[in-house]
């Protein structure tokens, strides 16, 4: 009794109460019903008693002593009960008796379903007496009778009123009854055997309900319970020891040296820390020595440890094996051949013991059989299954299987399921039912490589990776926290707390709370219930077991503990667990692998190069010259190609393109990008607008158009190769070729404070005031917008503040340059303007090229300015020499010009007549020329020559030019001529007769040879026109000087003519 738990006592008292109250009621019923029911009641009673009797012996049959003790206890209890009963009520005795029975019931630990038991007790409380008295030995009744009675009593209870008078009788009866019962219990052992046979099973089955009702916490051990000692034993023999103890217990039971322990157990699982011990429950330590003495493999004489009461439940703690879900990853343990191999769970049997898994077979298809069957040197056969080199993992191949074992294979090619050598194969995987205990379920940590093998096995070739399952199997892997991590507690009492880790010690993380009421407090939490916390926008690096390891990116969304980030490198979204992330301080992530880094150009084989577009942990992805990506190992790369800064290629238009130029594909997708590599005829471009291949794509150089060249290199489609460099004439005279710097102007730039309009670019058309200038640029304060913008001076048109007319603010200064320099100027101009320097002049008509050039070379312009007379023109006209060209030109004009060549030539140089002609001004030109009276006129040619020049700057310029030249005389503007002429002057200036010849056509040509011709009409059309174009093609101006160049264009009559003329001259 002493060992009874408190709750049981509580129960008892409960039932006592029950008994006390209704007791009298039943008594009356008893009276009325007595006669009818006596027999059956007695039976019931008897049944009860005997039940006890039979149970008692059944339990204690084999161990007498404890039983005896029990009985003594019981007796003691009974007496107590009696006292109680007496004190309380007259009928107490009856109850006492009843109680006693109940006690016995419980003593036997044979706890019945509560309700029923109580009922029974009530009943028996009143019927016992009679039953016992009248026919104690009546046959045992089965439960049915009892139930009948139960019904009866139920009815009876309703109406009955207690009559205490009868209780005295009952009491006496009961005393007698009890005495007899005691006697009966004395010889219970004798009956036990029989009774147990009859009732044993039923008795033992009555326990369940009761047990489930009792919560575990009420079962916690107390000092009244036996103690538990840990006893050393031989490791690995724990089970055997437990069974040996069992045997000893059974052998000695019933004898007079029963094993004095109540239980012994072991907890030596394969991964247990409790190996090498068994735990024995006994009252005294000495009992254990007795019990274990002489048993093998257990050492009670070595140090025996008493387990503290509070630790006892832990000894028996059971942790549920995590259940397996289909799709989960496991590792095989059992067939040695497959030990450690990854397998995927397909199904789990209902009882949760077996799992159907699939894995990649390691088959040799009998190749090794022969070697196995031949006896080895020592005459013994090698045992199959011996650890040898195990075959590599390979999907099942029907063909190979048929080679050697055609008989052992059968299956269905349709479903691709086979049975081979007793194993099942589906889709190449081996499928097998394996005990879960033979699978490694925890810490599987499948690698990406392993998993992909399974994924690629799917029929349609699609990747059917079940990331969720993968995640689940990875989830158990260790999470590491570091000081500084922002952590959220999601489990336990501190749930919801957010803080920053201060220190990490083992499994305990100390947090400083950063949010909520606890802010500032430091709390310690176990690492089990916490996770790292991030916010969208955080920059993080993937760490740990994820296959995205080492990616760095920005958090874009968070769902539970899954965090989606956009990687810096590839701009792809990847989802990983927050545990695998850490705040990243660096950007871009791992961009290199060994010596290779992202966007490097590498040689894959002698004919293939590629650009690295992705760098992984062990491999990288390379976009080769054919636009294909491939994954390569560093070892597959022949070498890295250094970046060649000087690499140059020609784009579709023949313009040179270099690294860092921005080009656009012609046709196709018209992708645009910056050149990062030029290799032979391929260019690798990088674009920020696409994420594919890290924005890198490859195309042929001949398939791109230049959009912007780095550093503003001129990439005019009209400009050809720089012929000046090939010009022997120029080369001959290197001095002249030297780039001449524009003459310095002293003092503040005149441009400052001028009103300007902007000719091109984003600010085109806006008007502003120049605030500051450099050599090439001006800072302009726009009227319409705040702030200063920097604009190339060439894009500015200076205007009169009031009238808005374009003006030439440099007109004064131009002069100096004048004559001699003139030519040089021209040359020089080549130098700086890069061909069409003309534009320089652009601003103002008058200045004309010379001007424009003003800084540089003014000369021609001198007169261009129109200051004086045409007469001069010729005068200085080195240009005059030009004459020759004229002739040619003239021809063109043909008859039109009366003036005859004579004059023309005069100013000719400048006039470049041809130009004029083109416009039909031709006639005029001469007129002008002739009509020297009109300064303008005379100039015209000059104009033509000069003014236009600027025109060169741009197609528009033409239009302008005229205006510029003489706002008043649009016509004079000879515009077209100008345009044409423009170069001319330059050409003129060029000392070489030949040179100037060239020019004439040149400028013109470039634009529209055809047009010209047309313009000139039938007249002379061909000659000049033609002449013009040709050079034009060659690149205009430059070409001009070179007679040779001309020669190149023999077709041109003009050209030839020119030459001739020249000679004539």
């Amino acid at each position: 009794m002493a060992s009874k738990a408190p709750f049981q006592f509580a129960d008892d008292s409960g039932s006592e109460d029950d008994n006390f109250n209704p007791a009298p009621a039943d008594l009356t019923d008893d009276e009325t019903a007595k006669s009818d029911r006596r027999g059956s009641m007695a039976a019931d009673n008897d049944d009860n008693d005997e039940d006890k009797d039979e149970e008692r012996p059944s339990k204690s049959a084999s161990k007498k002593r404890p039983r005896d003790d029990d009985e003594e206890d019981e007796n003691g209890d009974e007496e107590e009960q009696e006292e109680n009963d007496d004190g309380e009520e007259e009928g107490g005795d009856v109850d006492g008796d009843d109680e006693e029975e109940e006690e016995e019931d419980e003593d036997d630990e044979d706890v019945h379903r509560h309700r029923r038991k109580r009922r029974k007790d009530l009943r028996s409380a009143f019927f016992d007496i009679e039953a016992e008295v009248e026919d104690e030995d009546e046959a045992e009744e089965d439960e049915k009778d009892g139930e009948e009675i139960e019904d009866f009593i139920d009815n009876a209870e309703a109406d009955d009123i207690a009559e205490s008078g009868h209780l005295n009788d009952d009491r006496r009866h009961r005393e007698l009854d009890r005495r007899r019962e005691l006697e009966a219990s004395m010889d219970a052992e004798k009956q036990a055997q029989i009774l147990r046979e009859r009732y044993g099973k039923r008795a033992s089955n009555r326990a369940y309900d009761e047990m489930a009702v009792v919560p575990k916490r009420l079962l916690l051990p107390s000092v009244d319970d036996p103690s538990i000692w840990a006893v050393r034993c031989k490791e690995g023999k724990e089970r055997e020891v437990v069974f040996s103890i069992m045997r000893r217990v059974e052998e000695r039971s019933g004898s007079n040296n029963e094993v004095p322990i109540t239980a012994a157990f072991e907890r030596a699982g394969p991964n247990s820390v409790m190996k090498g011990y068994i735990y024995v429950e006994a009252r005294r330590q000495a009992d254990i020595l007795v019990a274990l003495d002489g048993l093998s493999n257990v050492y009670p004489r070595s140090k025996m440890m008493l387990v503290e009461i509070k630790d006892m439940p832990d000894l028996l703690r059971v942790i549920k094996t995590p259940s397996l879900e289909p799709g989960a990853w496991v590792r095989l343990k059992k067939p040695a051949k497959y030990a450690g191999d990854l397998a995927q769970v397909l199904d789990v049997t209902e009882n949760g013991l077996e799992a159907r898994v699939r894995f990649i077979p390691r088959l040799d298809y009998g190749v090794r059989d022969e070697t196995l069957s031949t006896p080895t040197a020592d005459g013994k056969r090698k045992r199959p299954g011996m650890p040898g080199p195990r075959p590599p993992q390979r999907l099942f191949s029907e063909v190979e299987a048929r080679k050697r074992h055609p008989r052992y294979i059968q299956g269905n090619p349709q479903t691709n399921t086979w049975t081979y050598m007793g194993e099942d194969f589906e889709n190449g995987f081996q499928v097998k039912d394996i005990l879960i205990s033979q699978l490694e379920v925890k810490d599987v940590n499948p690698t990406l490589e392993e998993v992909t093998k399974f994924a690629s096995g799917s029929e349609d070739g699609t990747e059917n990776l079940d990331l969720k399952a993968l995640a689940a199997s990875l989830k158990d892997s260790n999470v590491t926290y570091a000081a500084g991590d922002v952590i959220e507690v999601f489990e336990g009492e501190q749930q919801g707390v957010v803080g920053k880790a201060i220190s990490v010690q083992g499994d305990i993380i100390t947090l400083e709370v950063t949010e909520g009421d606890l802010t500032g407090r430091k709390i310690e939490v176990p690492n089990r219930g916490i996770r790292k916390r991030f916010r969208p926008g955080d920059h993080v690096r993937v760490i740990g077991g994820s296959r995205f390891r080492d990616e760095v990116g920005m958090v874009v969304s968070i769902v539970d503990d899954r965090v989606t980030i956009v990687t810096d490198q590839t701009s792809q979204e990847v989802t990983v667990f927050s545990k695998d992330l850490r705040e990243a301080s660096d950007i871009g992530g791992q961009g290199s692998l060994g010596q290779y880094s992202l966007l490097d150009l590498v040689q894959l084989d002698p004919t293939t190069v590629g650009c690295i577009v992705k760098v992984d942990r062990e491999s990288m992805v390379v976009l080769d010259q054919n636009g294909e990506t491939r994954q390569v190992m560093p070892s597959q790369i022949t070498n890295k190609l250094p970046k060649r800064r000087a690499a140059v290629a020609a784009d579709r238009n023949g313009s040179e393109i270099r690294l860092d130029d921005v080009v656009r594909e012609y046709g196709g997708q018209q992708r645009q990008g910056k050149i990062i590599h030029i290799h032979r005829s391929f260019v690798f471009l990088h674009s920020n607008t696409t994420v594919e291949n890290a924005g890198v794509f490859v195309t042929r150089a001949s398939n791109v158009n230049t959009i912007a060249a780095k550093g503003g290199r001129i990439n005019n489609a009209n400009s050809g190769p720089d012929l000046s460099t090939m010009n022997p004439a120029l080369k001959r005279n290197p001095a002249a070729n030297n780039v001449m710097k524009p003459p310095k102007t002293f003092g503040p730039d005149r441009a400052i404070n001028q009103t300007v309009s902007i000719r091109r670019g984003g600010y085109k058309g806006l008007i502003g005031i120049v605030k500051d200038t450099t050599e090439t640029h001006a800072r302009v304060e726009l009227h319409s917008k705040r702030g200063l913008v920097t604009i190339p001076k060439t894009d500015l048109i200076f205007r009169d503040k009031v009238t808005g007319k374009p003006i030439d603010i440099y007109s004064r200064s131009g002069r100096g340059g004048f004559s001699g320099s003139g030519r040089g100027g021209f040359n020089g101009s080549v130098g700086w303007s890069g061909g069409s320097r003309t534009p320089m002049g652009a601003g103002s008509g008058e200045r004309t090229p010379a001007w424009g050039a003003s800084k540089t070379t003014a000369r021609t312009p001198a007169w261009g300015r129109g200051e004086t007379s045409g007469s001069r023109t010729p005068a200085w006209g080195d240009g005059s020499r030009t004459v020759n060209p004229y002739d040619g030109n003239r021809t063109a004009y043909g008859g039109a010009t009366t003036y005859g060549g004579s004059r023309t030539p005069a100013w000719s140089s400048s006039a470049k007549t041809p130009a004029h002609d083109g416009f039909g001004h031709g006639s005029k030109t001469p007129a002008y020329g002739s009509g020297s009276s009109d300064p303008w006129g005379s100039k015209t040619p000059a104009y033509g020559v000069s003014a236009p020049t600027p025109g060169a700057s741009g197609a528009d310029s033409w239009g302008y030019t005229p205006g510029a030249s003489g706002g008043s005389h649009p016509f004079d503007a000879p515009t077209p001529g100008a345009g044409l002429g423009a170069p001319t002057p330059a050409a003129l200036s060029a000392p070489t007769p030949g040179a100037y010849a060239a020019p004439s056509p040149a400028p013109v040509s470039a634009p529209t040879p055809g047009a010209w011709q047309g313009g000139w009409g039938a007249d002379a059309a061909p000659t000049p026109a033609v002449g013009a174009p040709t050079p034009a093609a060659s690149g205009g101006y430059y070409g001009a000087p070179t007679p040779a160049a001309y020669g190149g264009a023999p077709e041109t009559p003009a050209a030839t003519g020119t030459i001739q003329y020249a000679e004539d001259d």
Binding site: D108, T262, L353
Partner: protein, 120 residues
């Protein structure tokens, strides 16, 4: 009478009852049924039933010498069972129909695979 003793060589045939966790050999289950649960499990003579209601996967053997007095028995809810060898943990789950049967017998099933302890 060492009926509960199982020689080491026979231990591979051991199975544990999923209801009461008693550990016996398969053949003994077949010949005698489960001493505690036979009333509703009917293991005797039916290997299929034994297969579904007992498990070869168990750990932590307990020798129960005196189920009525042992705290271990009480804690494991083995009090009331017969003396014998029990397991602390029995993996596996009872088939649903057997569970239903248990309910009919008003027997509260205590899972022995550790899932019950998590509830406490």
């Amino acid at each position: 009478m060492s009926e509960n003793f199982v020689a080491p060589g026979q231990q591979r045939y051991l199975r544990a009852c999923m209801v009461c966790s008693i550990v016996m050999t398969f053949s003994r289950f077949r010949d005698e049924g489960c001493p505690n649960c036979e009333e509703f499990l009917h293991l005797q003579g039916s290997p299929d039933q034994i297969d579904s209601c007992t498990s070869p996967v168990f750990e932590g053997l307990i020798t129960l010498a005196d189920p009525s007095k042992s705290w271990v028995a009480k804690w494991q809810r083995l009090d009331g069972y017969v003396r014998g060898v029990y397991a602390t943990k029995v993996s596996g789950q009872l088939p649903d129909d057997v569970r239903t049967t248990l309910e009919e017998y008003r027997v509260t099933y205590i899972p022995r695979d550790g899932s019950a302890t998590e509830l406490d």
